[in-house]
């Protein structure tokens, strides 16, 4: 069991109904964590979503460590 800080943006924030959450999880990877939260909050399919761990784009199969900061990045739309 690890604890990670998850921050939600865009439609994920609306689905989760909150901006951030400390998640206690057995997920090994970012993908597993997404899938766990997707079940809980009815998130959209992982599709073209990306993930940032500690503010760097990371692989979905990256292993999570206790205390990591995790953000799921839906397709962006700046500019």
């Amino acid at each position: 069991m690890i604890s990670v800080d998850v921050e939600f943006f865009a439609m994920l924030r609306e689905h989760a109904g909150r901006e951030r959450e400390k998640v206690e999880t057995n997920a090994d990877t970012a993908a597993e964590l997404y899938s766990e939260l997707a079940d809980r909050y009815a998130f959209p399919d992982i599709g073209r979503m990306k993930v940032a761990i500690n503010q760097e784009f990371s692989d979905w199969e990256s292993r999570l460590s206790d205390g990591d900061s995790v953000v799921f990045i839906p397709p962006v739309a700046g500019g």
Binding site: Q55, E56, V71, A77, G78
Partner: protein, 141 residues
Amino acid sequence: MSDFLFSHDLLDPASYRQAQTDSACGGFVCFEGWVRNHNDDRPVIRLEYQAYEKMGIREGQRVLDEALEQFEVSGVSCIHRTGTLEIGDLAVWVGVSAHHRDAAFSACRYIIDEIKLRVPIWKKEHYADGDSGWINNEQAK
């Protein structure tokens, strides 16, 4: 000057331009993204930009640093608005000063293209019919 910034308030292009002036430079190119009153045929009444600012500043700064490295330019900067924007509001400002215009055009184009691709910013459009939706640059043109 070489900074990427977010601003929750109205952008002030005159002051960004002023900060970029450099008497060694002969050319300056700027790009402004404005909030349009439509998306395809759908009337838009306002937008909302949300950014993952901590990472966005890092990624935006990286884009500016790449531009400084790849093109012969002197100053590069980019300011992106967040929060609720009205039609006609300035959403993003990019300014590049250079000795010669060729580099200024190329770098300005590079910066806005990469910012749109890489910086974690999301846009929600609010439509005249009361509907709204998160859109993204892969669907949009």
